[in-house]
């Protein structure tokens, strides 16, 4: 979970917990997110777009390159984001719509379980 506000990050963590996911990391910056990707296996990521001083596009690019699915949770309108890496990205809303998150996680699990 890449989100610069701790309170929002732990709320997303709680939602993922309830869905039976193991959250390998909450990270507030691009650098810490990239380090996490080096260190751990990540099956799915949730990205905030505006991290205060930087934007998360660099992480989205890395996820695309690694074939790791991700979804956005941002206050912006996703269609208007200028970054190429965010094109076609799923948007979970902000605050996150739990049902949409649940559906997304379930869909990803299905894909994984039936290769």
């Amino acid at each position: 979970v890449l989100e610069d506000q701790f309170l929002i990050a732990i709320e997303i963590e709680g939602m993922l917990d309830r869905l039976g996911c193991i959250v390998v990391g909450l990270v507030p910056t691009v650098a810490r997110a990239l380090a996490l990707l080096e260190r751990d296996r990540v099956d799915f990521a949730i990205l905030d777009v505006n991290l205060g001083r930087e934007r998360s596009a660099r992480v989205a690019e890395e996820l695309l390159a690694r074939g790791v699915p991700f979804a956005l949770s941002t206050g912006y309108e996703v269609q208007k984001l200028p970054e190429e890496a965010f094109r076609d990205a799923e948007h979970l809303g902000k605050p996150i719509d739990f049902h949409r998150l649940a559906e997304t996680v379930r869909r990803l699990m299905d894909v994984r379980e039936t290769p």
Binding site: Q5, F6, L7, L26, P28, T29, G52
Partner: protein, 345 residues
């Protein structure tokens, strides 16, 4: 070359004068070229050029200025246009100040003002000028009404954003305060509303600063205000001037509030003789960093809690997660001590 020959018969001589005019011709041509260049410079689109005399009368203007403003060359030639005619009443003082500056430094502006066009309508203009040394004054002006309009729109949107942020916080506060429940629910409500109020106070500061920077002392004062009525004697605050980015100030405000409520519930502020010292300093080595210390004493005996509450967890994580710094929390018998530090920018 100019040749000039003359026969002097009685001496059987021909006097021949040869004058090399290469230099002076070249100088003439250069002068004409330079004048032509300057004339073109003065007819650059969108840049009006005005010439004044010492009394403020317009003596000449370029075509761009006439087109921009609608004033006629006849009026200028008749000496019937002065800067005062073109200056709305509320801008006269500012313009006179520019004239004073001209008298002192030989320069005008750059400055902006609202300006009367010939038809009485107004445009924003940016002016800059100087004394030409022969009693004349030249002034250049650019119509920047479009930029002004964009600025006004941005102002409006920022005001609108502030309004909506405050409104949504007020709506959330009202939603949370509705209904009554058992003591558990009421307790939770009180905790939640106090947290929300701290958030509202920090947001109000951020909005006032127009999301630029906030003085740390001001943030501390505002966040602790709800507790100061009862504990004004017990809390001492001091520190270096520190300008915090608004976004980061919101994080610090959150941690401060948790520290204060914990102190009231379990710490130094739960006893009349308890004291809290809040201090901060700016340290400089490779980067500027803020060191923030919350120190309690003379409260009830403190023992490390068996399990860390949400507030305590939040305090630490504000420093390590949101501020890219870190924090140490000590449960000393005389009271807790939190030392947090983070890079200023």
């Amino acid at each position: 070359m100019v040749l000039n020959a003359r026969r002097i018969d009685h001496m059987q001589l021909i006097l021949l004068a040869i004058e090399d005019q290469t230099e002076s011709r070249r100088a003439d041509r250069a002068l004409r070229r330079s004048e032509e260049r300057l004339r073109r410079v003065l007819e650059t689109d969108a840049v009006g050029v005005l010439f004044f005399d010492q009394t403020g009368r317009v003596t000449d203007a370029n075509e761009v200025f006439l087109r921009m403003t609608g004033y006629s060359r006849e009026r200028i030639d008749a000496g019937q246009l002065t800067w005062r005619d073109m200056t709305p009443p509320e801008w006269v003082a500012a313009s006179e100040q520019q004239m004073d500056q001209l008298a002192k430094t030989g320069r005008i502006g750059p400055y902006e003002k609202d300006y009367f066009l010939a038809d009485g309508s107004r445009r924003w203009m940016l002016f800059a000028g100087r004394d030409l040394g022969d009693g004349a004054i030249v002034e250049f002006c650019i119509d920047n009404s479009e930029r002004k309009k964009a600025e006004e729109e941005r102002e409006f949107l920022l005001g609108e954003l502030n309004h909506r942020v405050k409104n949504i916080l007020a709506v959330i506060r009202s939603l949370a305060a509705q209904g009554h429940g058992g003591p558990e629910v009421e307790r939770y409500k009180a905790v939640f509303l106090a947290r929300l109020d701290a958030l509202v106070a920090a947001h109000a500061l951020a909005l006032e600063s127009r999301w630029s920077t906030i003085e740390l002392a001001e943030l501390v004062a505002r966040t602790l205000k709800p507790y100061m009525a009862e504990h004004s004697e017990a809390v001492e605050t001091s520190g270096d001037p520190v300008q915090l980015e608004a976004r980061r100030a919101l994080s610090v405000g959150l941690a401060l509030h948790e520290l204060a409520t914990n102190a009231v519930k379990y710490g130094a502020l739960s006893k009349p003789e308890g004291r809290v010292r809040v201090s901060w300093r700016l340290e400089k080595d490779s980067e500027q960093r803020v060191v923030f210390v919350w120190e309690e004493r003379d409260g009830p005996n403190v023992a490390p809690p068996e399990d860390i509450g949400f507030g305590t967890r939040l305090i630490r994580r504000v420093f390590s997660y949101e501020l890219n710094g870190d924090a140490e929390l000590e449960f000393r018998p005389e009271g807790i001590r939190l030392k947090g530090w983070f890079p200023l920018s």
